[in-house]
Subunit: 252 residues, 8 copies
């Protein structure tokens, strides 16, 4: 099997020219996966990417989902299942030990044992109470993967003093996630106040010319404040995952 | 000819039932206009709408423009010519007495004699220096039509303290025009701070996913703060005109 | 607590230079809000903006909605709850004294005691019977906030004489709201006849190439008649609120 | 060669069952065309469609255009060349006898000899002076093909009395073409007043959210008044051609 | 009351200059309508436009619909109700004598007594069996208003010989309606074969990149064959109405 | 009747000039079809196109579908019914002998007797388990029409080694179908590795800014690797059909 | 170096299990490329994909282009440079022996020596003379890569008999490329007549609602005739390349 | 003046409750800026955000630009001017000491004295040579702000082995910027291989259905690989800035 140590040695040797570059592809080819027929589990992902394969539950048949989730949860490692329908959660909770389900975030997860919290703080800021589900998806994801998380909800620009009130928490964060629908102005206002990178999540909250999230998406892409990058509409998970990746200290 | 007094008497009579409603249409039919062949000047507009016909110069041939402008400027009344190419301005300035041209705003205008300034203040707020031309189109329009105007430029949300610094001017205004490109967040932030109506003008300033002003347009349409309405992209004139209409005290 | 009088004195002092500008931000920071955890009620909004925080009920869980509405309705002040599902209304009506519910407009409201009607008239004009719900949302909002309201419904351009018939009411209004779906032509036709500002509300009424309201939205943004501004598709509330803000006499 | 008489006899026979349906395709296959290598002139079009092949000059190289135009103009029949660049017109006028060029409409044409005017009237209505070029393209096309044409220009909805003033001409027309940019409201207003079919031509006149004619296109597609159909943006030729086709009395 | 005779006399006098133009507006103002509060029935429409007001049932509450339909059907004149839900039809059929309902077309109608069929033929051509409902809406509308109608269904371009087979019917028609979804190619192919005007109706039939009818709408707008105009997506009624208007001989 | 032999002779003669070109249209006109009133079955399609008419079941009423399917299945030839609702399948299976239904692909089919498999291989590659239904539609179509099919599922670019693992199967294929939603990157990556043509099928799998398949559609249209062409969103059938057409050896 | 023989042996061994799958990746890693700093030439592409790397000249600086083209043309192999500005062609023709430039197609190419023409025929069909440049890009590409090519130009659906006239050439082709702008109907009409696969190329020819090629793109994606796939707007090269790939007999 | 030390003390005190939250706003209000009339320089930005105000040169008049740049460059601090037209660069280089201009990146910058390089590596990966300008804008920005930068250009997915060849550099990076036009697939492929966060920059390189960068923008937003966030089209600066922000070690 390909352990992290082995992978590191390969890279080390390649860097020093002791191994031809081509051999790295050989390494890659030996990366294991598991073929279930309808799905191929990337069992090597934890080593390559630092986190195991996350399962997007939406769009899978219940039978496929159960099979995939059980394979992924095999052993004692961490598990993260997103967009999990509350109706399907009980079946999974029965079958997978130590799994927890957060209905508002629609996430089921199990943390790795003995994995300590990271030092850095991820702040999740949301514009209104209608954005709560997406904000929680981001917060629960980052927390499940190992980050400390602070939640600053309903601090939209309609009453900007509510946001200013939280300035010190914002400035203390290593990464800030801003979740907002409607006009998405919050991302720019937050980014203008702080040093940390801002991950903006447009939500489909709104109506009419919000076009299911296009309005805040465009607003966030066009932020006049640098230091902001955007993930897909309602993609709380993606924001939480990226925040964790940034928060994670670099390997030495 | 149909004077304002006569129009008022008609309306007065109609309100009291002394004249059938249908007669009002008769009034309407008698409203004068002047047929130049390629254009029909609505010479009655000042009475009906409170301001004379404004000429949008863009898209007209120079010959047509000269003819129309001279007819509109006939007499001593107010004149407002928008989107006037600097190359065409001198010819008009030579022919129309007392006309002034503001290159940045691309507006030529002549105020009515003895027309006093209105009591109310129109504040024009802009996000960045690239929005100046549109902001000036709004400011010059409102001023030419009779409003007092305050200019608060380059107070975008990247450094929100620059805006907060102007809070008292904002709160003193009867109407606030917010001109912004990119993500257009400024309209919501301003509206959240004040009582007055906000007219938002998206600009085509930006690039990529700003889509020539669609991004701020959508942001402004979706403002989470009520009390905001939007005019067309780069339509500084429309905002200035509407601000003046709101600022104008109702007729008694 | 920060009363209006105090706020006015601050502004007065700041205007006369008796207080540094920075102190105004200090004022702002002291503006109160109430943190419910999932929501932060902007209890200071009535003073800052002239009307209390309005609750958009859509998108909130029933539990959150009940909690927020009860907090907002605490005391005897005015209340305005929009997009309120008829199924949820009875629970609110039981808990909040003097609350009234208008099913067609989907609004629940309570007027402030002893608040007199404003002198100005808000005219709400609609194109067809299918636009009634949005038109009523606008009319009820403006009335609940204190305006006198005239309703001119089903006067679309297919039979323009029905509109002309109401010319005198239109000309008497301080603000006119035009609600129209399909091609949205009504806003321009109305604006061409009157002095007052026009707030245009595109509706999602129509099919095919109306694209859920994009067609009238674009038509209204592009009105060849100045004096028109646009709010979001189906945003009757926004139009009614803005009409009230314009109608409200400026503070002296 | 296939003359009209022969074509009629075929149809007559087919209708009476004296000839198998399949034979009609045989007729079709024998329809002549002329192969220039880079173009195949449909020399039979006049018989099949009632008008000869019209040449859209835009997008063709000058050499191709000259060759095609000369072949089409061969003989003494009618000729219609649209979107003809003024720079290319002189070369064509030199080579093709009796050809006339109308710069504003960018059309060169030659009427068939002795072809009488049709009895019906085509009215071309335009919203503003900036729409003149498209309106003239429609008017010149209809006139070149044989219709009587009335021009009603600059009667936009900003001053609806200018339009009402022309009610009798509108009611006398067999077909009405409405040319309008910006919000395109004119098509609906005209259609509501008359019996005749309305052909609506959106123009790319406008800016910002007119999106080069999408706004009036959508408005016209969504007209609340039946009896309106739409052609492509700026397609004055298409409207003039269709008006002529409708105006033309049916063959007996 | 304003009879057709009277209207004609007015026009006649105006044409001869015996009556000022303004008086025509007076006529217009005297046009009657009936105010139901939530709706204003344009009872004069039959005289002005040649057909009575058609009721679009979609989007109206059942109570409003019943009230409007009964008022429209008052007397013995023709009636046309479109987009009528099959569940609501029985209630209307019970209340309005001689009304007929066509479920596939979702139309209820009553023809005027003794109204003869027009001489001209309206051909309705459809691309596939999935377009039947829209094609029938067009066909039933034209027939209910007085046209002879020929139906040529399922003659899409996948097997163009099926269309060619019907060439003689197509060439005999005064107007041709082409109903097609997916790529909408049928309109161009039909128009290339005939003299008559073509009204193209894009349908929302298709999936994926048909975007609910945008694909055929654009195809039809861009037809390389002149003589085609387009109505809204799925607007069979509009096509049938316009076909009737074109088919109707001009008044003398 | 028109047999293939006869058709070939016609073409042969035409090629050698023994028959005028026009006679070919005559041939075309004699191509048979069957008119069911609401549908015209192109019974000649198998000869002209190499495969019989395929029935798209979606959008047809059950009665129409049954009638069409039974006519198409008349005799012993091959049958292919796509987008067949599972609820309607049993009725068809009872009536049509030897018909098989594949629920995941929503296809019912019957292969022609004694039709041998083609030599070439069609590889169907899919990005994720959520794309399975579309991938199966493609695979079942190609197999039902006569191709050998290899399925390579869940080899998305998140773990590119899973794809590289199948390189030899990919390189052995005569045609490769790539089915992918989300960012659709898989088509380019696959095409860069092989010689065979790639048919790309974007799927509507995803959320937010995938816009029901527009994102992968655009990605596939813009592939930087030549040798890729795209079919409609979710159009597994179209890809399978085209793969078979390419796989089929040319007629000699 | 990695020759084709060696690559085949690898695959052969891998298929027979004589070599682990992982070793294939090793092969891949040994594939050569040449690093110019600003570009990495994929010198192995001819073996992997069957054709050498094609250079898209548009968007490259002249200096970069010259360097890349000369490297690619090193040796005597085939060369294909697309979208080559006529102004840059002479410099390349001077430096690269045997290179030919086709201005209309904007392609410079050099065929491999002694490479025989393929047996199959590629037919390139275009709708109008304005589509010539894109059609020629497709035709020249396919010919330069080794296919026999037939050109059928200006056979648009406005006169469908011109197309039917070429039926026998169409039926003889192994692959048909259809190039069309405006409504793009030609692709469906052609596909309905033949057995061969159709590659559809939408062009940006047209105006207004053709939206620079979106209209024909959508039409082609939604073809009601199976057997059609689409490449990018104006992508004549991509169509010609794919046609060649399909035309090329499979390796045995 | 407000030094960083002072700011830290304020925050420290606020955290410990020694200072009321409201006082923080007071701090904010005291943040300095410089009012040039047409622009307000946020001179405090370096302390608040960690980097000084960056000047976007595009859209500013030369006079405004010169004035702003000189004020920003006052003193000896770092300077960053983006989108600087080569024609305007010399004037700035003359006036601002130590300024350097990189034409391909269109950036002028001056690094702070004695500022050491950060330990982390920013890798900039680009798909093709046409993306060079945007990639360089990103690389130069990150380097000018203090990061070590590795450039991996022209490693697009058409020949994925070129990318795999650089695996070790990719895995060593603290942040990876992926710049790609066309289908934008590169971002997902890169992200699937590494641990570090990926900032994706879509470019407007491409034609037709790339829609000036919308295609890669959507592809990147919909990446099936988590750990990717997107900045605006062609926004190389934004990506470089964000990479630096992530690379920068957190303050302790």
């Amino acid at each position: 099997m390909v352990t992290e140590q082995r992978l590191r040695r390969w890279l080390h040797d390649a860097r020093r020219g002791r191994r031809p570059a081509a051999a790295l592809l050989d390494d890659l080819a030996r990366l294991p996966f598991e073929n279930l027929g309808f799905a191929r589990l990337d069992t090597h992902r934890a080593l390559r990417r630092g986190h195991p394969e996350v399962v997007l539950c939406e769009g899978k048949t219940p039978a496929h989902l159960l099979a995939i989730a059980q394979r992924v949860a095999h052993g004692r490692g961490p598990v993260l299942l997103t967009r999990l329908d509350p109706a399907l959660a009980p079946a999974l909770l029965r079958r997978i030990p130590h799994l927890r389900y957060v209905p508002l975030a629609r996430i089921a997860y199990r943390r790795a044992r003995h994995s300590p919290r990271l030092a850095g703080l991820v702040a999740v800021v949301s514009g209104g109470t209608s954005d709560l589900a997406v904000a929680e998806e981001a917060a629960v994801t980052a927390a499940a993967l190992g980050s400390r998380v602070a939640r600053l909800y309903d601090v939209g620009v309609a009453g900007v003093h509510r946001l200013l009130h939280e300035w010190k928490t914002l400035r203390a964060a290593r990464v800030v996630i801003v979740v907002a629908g409607m006009e998405g102005a919050l991302a720019s206002v937050v980014a203008g106040l702080i040093r940390a990178p801002v991950i903006a999540v447009p939500t489909s909250v709104g109506y009419g010319a919000s076009f299911q999230g296009i309005a805040p998406l465009l607003a966030m892409m066009n932020s006049c404040v640098p230091g902001v990058a955007v993930v897909n509409i309602d993609n709380g998970f993606g924001a939480g995952y990226l925040a964790q990746v940034i928060n994670r200290p670099p390997r030495r």
